[in-house]
Assembly symmetry: C2
Homo-oligomer: 339 residues x 2
């Protein structure tokens, strides 16, 4: 394709743009009776449908200083994959809504779509619909993801005595974001941490395996571990004691946190965007956990214990226990002060 | 609720805003196993799922000069209802994504949500998910609507000899928009026409009844009758002859078009946003049409005939036949010149 200064979406036209974009993503697949190109898609499911939507807004969820177009596309689907994983679901089909600044370059939108395609291919998701608008404002990618599951796992089933477990490691996205903001810092683990921020790996397979084991409650860590744990605790009507020293911090995080002047546990607790699964399991799960971790190929760490509601919500660790509070992401912080 | 100058969404906080909004819309209903409040909704369907998404972007699809917040909410759901209707589907569940300017007043968002709620209640749709972001840019309402149907109707089944029919009347939304832009014009039908633009009535019941009769192909008139007819003709690989004098123009349109210096048939052909159903039916339907129209309580008008592809696409009417071209809505017009 010739690259000219006028290679913007406006120079192509809406329908031609949609035609180009649809060729970059997987559009057919099992269950797709009618895909892109009619008034609506027609889809076949074998189990109850899991449905979620989430957006990536330029200047809010990402900036071009830290993310390339393909990363934004990947993230836009990944955050939704993580929500379906947290229900124990298998992702199947996605619909993509784009709002694009009018001077957006065609190459840029195509790169963004290739990022969506990479995440879709990694999880066998077909793109079955969408729409594109040009506007005077920030870029918005809004994705609705449909999946299915015979055994949905809610946030609300945790009971006193349950252990609270987390997949993988925490704080890596916050560390990666910090490194992207500070290219001058020497850090051996830079590439891995940056990737954790730019292209998070939602725990889709883990969520499916875990759902078959019947965890009491599950949520993904998007806002921040503390905030998401409190969502689970609130929904279940219970208390909790989190052991700060058990938070699974990844290799290479320590020196980066040191350079940032931050306690690594603070990133693990409040950094957000790790897209791990946080779940409550009855005490008997302790014996099963090592085998399950081997099966899903992801570490499992017991970081907290569910208490009766009357016992409250606490963080234990060095020093005296302190209340567990939600400090995570809030798009409209009532008290000011954004992360 | 006390109304203060600081009554903006930023003063409330994201989670509190979501809590307030969810109380304004129907969230439970048949098929909703898990609704708003978990990582994703879990839904039960009896038939193949119909899925579509469409946005209303401030400054592109609407302006505050012409639409009140409740109208924007209504339209945002109505355009999706119309797409599900065009597949012959029954709408069931919606997910709502909002991008709000940071200084948005809480009252305004609530009014917008009441508009969504009114359209949802009119068609027994439950709101099962969504997300809200604050941003520096135009307001965006993006809705994904899920429905179901045992008999999806595509755009692609029209065959030579079929009649092309349209529900209701055409050009009314364009006339309503013109009247809203010209409050000084005296027009007896003003209220009805303005309402047709601000709160279009998607033909959901008609679509369901028609789908049971097995039309060959169906689409809704959103971009404009000419443009949407060409979509159907393209998808079916056929030609068409449209009879301009048969276009069903509503009562009261004539004087408004006269005031605008426009041929009423131009609005009917290219005005867009009427959200009627346009469908191809085999010749035998001519005899059934009056009975069907009575059943659905909506006029049916035969406006065109499907031809072999080799015969081309034509408009007949006064004067010599001329080629039928797509001139409708394009968000990125390659040749400049927006409607």
């Amino acid at each position: 394709m010739p690259h000219s200064p006028d290679n913007t979406i406006a120079s192509v036209g809406e329908f031609a743009l949609i035609d180009r974009l649809r060729q970059l993503v997987p559009t057919a697949g099992p269950g797709v009776t009618i895909g892109i190109g009619d008034d609506a898609a027609v889809l076949q499911f074998s189990h109850p449908v899991v449905a979620t939507c989430d957006s990536q807004v330029e200047g809010v969820h990402f900036t071009w200083a830290l993310c390339r177009p393909g990363d934004v596309g990947w993230r836009a689907l990944a955050v939704n994959l993580s929500d379906v994983a947290a229900m124990g679901g298998t992702p199947r089909h996605a619909l993509i809504s784009l709002v694009l600044p009018r001077d957006t370059l065609l190459d840029m939108v195509e790169e963004l779509y290739r990022g969506i395609a990479a995440a879709a291919l990694a999880h066998a998701v077909s793109i079955v619909g969408g729409n594109v608008s040009g506007a005077d404002g920030p870029l918005v990618v809004d994705i609705t993801l449909l999946g299915e599951t015979p055994r949905p796992v809610t946030r609300s089933g945790a009971r006193p005595g349950d252990g609270v477990w987390v997949t993988g490691s925490l704080g890596k996205a916050a560390a990666g974001r910090f490194l992207l903001e500070h290219p001058e810092i020497q850090a051996p683990g830079r590439a891995v941490l940056e990737q954790a921020y730019r292209r998070p790996s939602p725990r889709v397979d883990a969520g499916r395996v875990l759902s078959a084991l019947g965890p009491r409650a599950m949520i993904d860590t998007s806002d921040g571990t503390a905030s998401d744990l409190l969502h689970l605790v609130d929904a279940s009507g219970v208390g909790v004691r989190l052991d700060e020293d058990r938070l699974p911090v990844p290799d290479g995080l320590g020196p980066v946190a040191h350079a940032a002047g931050i306690d690594p546990r603070a990133w693990a607790l409040r950094g957000g965007e790790d897209y791990e699964l946080l779940f409550a399991a009855e005490p008997g799960f302790d014996a099963e956990a090592p085998g399950v971790a081997r099966r899903i190929g992801v570490n499992l760490t017991r970081i907290a214990e569910i208490l009766p509601a009357s016992a409250g919500r606490w963080i234990h660790g060095s020093g005296v226990p302190r209340p567990l509070t939600a400090e995570g992401w809030d798009h409209f912080p009532a008290g000011g002060g954004r992360r």
